[in-house]
Symmetry: C2
Subunit: 785 residues, 2 copies
Amino acid sequence: MTTNSMIQFAADGSCRLSSPTQMPLASAYLWNQKMMVQYNCRGYVTSQFMQPEPAKYSTGPNIEATTFMQPEQPYFSHYPGRFFYLNDVTDQRLYSVPYEPCRVQAQHFEMRCYDRSIQWLIRYGEVEIELTTWLGDDEVVEYWSCQLTNLSAQAKQLKLTPYFTVGYMSWMNQQGDFDAALNTIICQKVTPYQKVEQYFANQHLAEKTFLWADHVPDSWQVNQAGFEGEGGLHNPTALTQAELPRQPAIYQTPVAAMQYAIELAPGQRSECYLFAFGAAKTTAEISKRRQQWANAKAPAIDVSANNQVPFKVTMPSSWLSHQVNHWLFRQVRYHGESNRLTTDPQTRNFLQDALGYCFVAPSQCRSRIITALSQQLSSGQMPDGVLLHPDAKLKYINQVPHTDHCVWLPMLVETYLQETNDYQLLNELVPYADSDQVDSVQNHICGAMDWLDSERDERGLSYIAQGDWCDPMNMVGYQGKGVSAWLTIASGYACQLWANLLAKASQMQLSERYQHLASSFRASFNQHCWDGDWYLRGISDDGTAFGRTADQEGRIFLNPQSFALLAGAADAQQKHCIIAAVKQHLATPYGLQMLAPAFTHMHEHIGRVTQKFSGSAENGSVYNHAAAFYVYALYLAGEGDLAFEYLQQMFPTDCDEDLLRRGQLPVFVPNYYRGAYERYPEHAGRSSQLFNTGSAAWIHRIIVQCLFGFVGNQQGVQLAPQLPSDWQSARLVRKFRGAHFDIHYQRSEEVTAMTLVSSEAEILDQQIIAIEAGKHYQIEVLLPR
Amino acid sequence: MTTNSMIQFAADGSCRLSSPTQMPLASAYLWNQKMMVQYNCRGYVTSQFMQPEPAKYSTGPNIEATTFMQPEQPYFSHYPGRFFYLNDVTDQRLYSVPYEPCRVQAQHFEMRCYDRSIQWLIRYGEVEIELTTWLGDDEVVEYWSCQLTNLSAQAKQLKLTPYFTVGYMSWMNQQGDFDAALNTIICQKVTPYQKVEQYFANQHLAEKTFLWADHVPDSWQVNQAGFEGEGGLHNPTALTQAELPRQPAIYQTPVAAMQYAIELAPGQRSECYLFAFGAAKTTAEISKRRQQWANAKAPAIDVSANNQVPFKVTMPSSWLSHQVNHWLFRQVRYHGESNRLTTDPQTRNFLQDALGYCFVAPSQCRSRIITALSQQLSSGQMPDGVLLHPDAKLKYINQVPHTDHCVWLPMLVETYLQETNDYQLLNELVPYADSDQVDSVQNHICGAMDWLDSERDERGLSYIAQGDWCDPMNMVGYQGKGVSAWLTIASGYACQLWANLLAKASQMQLSERYQHLASSFRASFNQHCWDGDWYLRGISDDGTAFGRTADQEGRIFLNPQSFALLAGAADAQQKHCIIAAVKQHLATPYGLQMLAPAFTHMHEHIGRVTQKFSGSAENGSVYNHAAAFYVYALYLAGEGDLAFEYLQQMFPTDCDEDLLRRGQLPVFVPNYYRGAYERYPEHAGRSSQLFNTGSAAWIHRIIVQCLFGFVGNQQGVQLAPQLPSDWQSARLVRKFRGAHFDIHYQRSEEVTAMTLVSSEAEILDQQIIAIEAGKHYQIEVLLPR
């Protein structure tokens, strides 16, 4: 346990929050193959399932716009929730568990986040309520169990009323009723449509929301307005009466509420009430699934037991160790398994989520590389999104042309090869999206690099079109002239990586070609994009450079600097300047801003990013994905201590005051923290609350490969740790190529250079070679002080 | 005054509601050329303005879907509102005016609806609050004035806190602050977009929401969450403190709240606090408009004073007289002036709203006929929507082909010619949408009738494609074979009307042609659509007839019967059958259902209507627009007493119990009342709360032309009233062709046939001829008992 008072990690890795009001936005998430649910600590719940597009079975009380998952989702009293009202009939008090909507301060509040379940332990009026939720495997169902204990010396008469939001979908198509035969509240809606073809497209949709219970309720209510009455959600009229009114929802907004009268003797513990809530297509399906629901048991709560791939670090900070072992690794799995609940992940995201998945499930990562390349055009261009379902279409931002997707391929393939040494991948034959021709993975990637080469202006700078990484820079080059400094040097980096991989695959001639291409990108970048103290971000259609010393807003962007370091474009002097400039202009107590000073108004030659207010993901925020690249670059440049400083900032902090400010349960790295520190210091650092982020994959890679220095190669593993100089010891346990590694890092007076010691492993220089699958390797790494 | 206890009409025509909780959905509306606002009695407000598409400056707390105006809009605590919190500091009590969100029962509650303003008179804790709202002329601004009176014998310390919802638009683009120089809270958002071209399209959008006040507040708050705190909207944390926290909204959901400390001696009346709330593009614009706001005064409250066109009926029921004089006529004006706040009204709606507008502003009605015809295709086909703005596009249901739009032209032109005798219209030259050719209005309409003729199958029945009137019958004929019985006979009726008009225009040969065409439609209809006791509704692509005696659901549809009567298709025996069948199957205590029994599940050969749940507008509801046609047909068939029975049902009732059930302030005729009476009697009769409806125009026409029998013709006016047989007297005052008519209807023992008496008017048979503009005509109509 840490000593932190508001949030604690238990020995089993679970995270515990002790107050819903100090951190009102704190949330955690669960997922399975078909759905994702985000649980706010107060009882609000955001749930989505795939059919194949993300759909909802529980919504707000008005027609919601269909949109991608939102950061900083604002909650309000009628936000979808799972509330367990508790009437203490004896004391005539009304409570709600976990907290909303009655908002009564509990005698005890504890929210426990496990890998596969979430639990609240609440005490109100000397009654303890244990509320647990988890998801079914591969089906759209949330399970909720609730058990009460009378801690008082008196007998208690209680009424427990679980209230599950169904919500409003269409004025003409909503109703619901209690089905006594199934002991289930079933609500139905019909998705509105106008064109005939939409009817046929909608036919497969699961449009019934159900709440099944294992106990027969004493009374129930499906009409939302009838439940609430004039009392309001915080004091519903229906709960002031002896029983719920038993009203169906006829053409009205439905809710699923059931009521149980429970008498508990002093010290008595109630039966456990089990509920299943989710989406179904037919009543027959609900009837059939009931048996499965009745047998549901909460999953084992030991986090590591649920983790199929042994992975564990031990670091001086137990806080950070918990973060990395349980929650970051879980986030990497989530991205790999769920593809962010989209059928058309942006190609960039898809490739990076796969990069993280290399460390969890290399064979699935391999098939994702092939999926992505099979959607490449024969011109070499990668599509804006990767379609994962036959009915999927490119949506939202994926309908806007972006020019950077090819860049991410070599980074993914490099990671995959480091992890697997599976160079056979390069010979796999894969089709193109627009031709019957099949081609090797190697040729596909060469094509991608050649496409990057072809999309350059006369100066050798890369066209940006309507955007590159950092979507909303959409007006720099929409006329076909504007260029991206970042994309130029990212292309250089990609070509360099690719050349290196080709060399390892003994394709020396090809390697030289991409080596040469990398040089050409670097040269153009250095010739046109160095601004004296750092690199520009780009030059717009009308020839205006931006990200310059002379700019009042958006003076410096992080990404061109990171990739300049990665690509080896910056010489020693430039590197020195960059590191100083980043520290001076972008570093904040809450992490590295992606650009600064944040834009405050529209700059028409740049576009949307400048119209997004200060602190949004792409405008002056601490955008973790961008920050991760800079940290990675610093490690590759041997700046381990500085890198670690920035690395730590990406994680939810272990400082109470900062936790309050960031408002986040530390069970995931958010896509951003608010920035604009120089402008709004009191708002900076706040978490976006969004766990979809490419940074998860990269931070995991950085920890394994840079901090612990565990990098696979063709011989085995190169160990080149860059532990912070004040660390005396550390430990890394991981599975790698089927073998089990347990590596102890130890500072030692007795060595002057890193020394590997192992009785099992074959060691050559600083490598472990001849690794055998199934074997356990115990390694001592002695590090000079 | 009526004696009704919950709702009363005052002498000035205003409507007064005395309880917000008995009729929680009761609402009224105001509009100007640029905006429309619907006010719920409890303080919730739905506002829209045109730029050119309908936009909002005050929304809910999550991303709302963009949709057309919804019937039966469900309210919830965070629904957009204008709340005036009142802290009685002396008594330590918190109230909110009008009612939400504190929901404290007032000592006195009165909501007064005037033609151009709405007022609440509320008493809480011996403080009287007078709250008045009205709209600016031609600008997007709501004015609110608030004045307090201390009715107690003690001095009162009060805090008044107006709270105006701004709402959530985008996670990345919202902020707001108090501008002390302008004494205005200004909140700004940026409409999210993804493609570059959208940026340029959005550039003209007014994206600032402002709240200006004439008094400098003591404190203010713009951060919504900071206002609410843990207390919740019904008991905001910020109101438990001495002052509002003065927080801007930085990247958070904004609200516009100001606070005033007010001390009132016993009996003292406070100053009047004035607020302007609305949308603007720039701060400079707000600054400039302030002067205008400061001078704003609530409009005169006398309803008739605001009515430029004298119109008044006197009937035995003062309730019904008020309905017709003030609120129905106002609703007709609203439709004519606002076009339902859309830039692409459905052609059918546009033509019928113009039909009502004939009685208000004939010259504007004329130009609408020309606008509509200028968008006709040279094939004669009318488009699915009429575009009213250069940037307008066909949206929503207007993208789905419907086949009935041509049918409505002769009804509109007939009404226009009855009102104006302006046969010159028929010679006006109007272009087509798809050719440079111009053609006379007469030829345009001939073309429309010919197009109807051309769209028939070998039986002479009209193809329905993806729908006709009654939009959601979208799968009857999408394969190109299904036919509509209603459209067949509606086409017959249209051709008959057109033939009659051509005869009056002395186009005898053409008239004969359309006479003949009308016969042909009637013959086909009678041959294929009579089902023994009534007419079918249609025959689907696969040859299945529906709307048949043999059907379990959707056995009988009202519209084919109405139009069979109108078109003279039904012989005496058939007419008798129809009237009996409608009474037996469609009549309910709450009006005539459009079809019965309501569908309960999808019937794939019919489509969407069957998927809409029982009681929705098109499925088994009392759809006033459809009911109006049946009433009109009964009048034309001389069934005045029965017609009047059904006519009355379309209006909000004057019976307390029914008002409760229908939940409606009687200031408009809704588009529907819930039906499915046989299935859900306890839900039937409830108002849709939506005042957009073609029935307003038709009910007005029926009252003028059928009930009072005032029908213009080429000589002047034909008087052929069908007053209910138990009426002893009635009166109609109206402007017609520039003259002023005041007609007294009186039952008299002394006449055996209707007798007209007038000292000013020239009377021929039952006509008033040789009408002179500017003249006043006093007419006595003596009716036999």
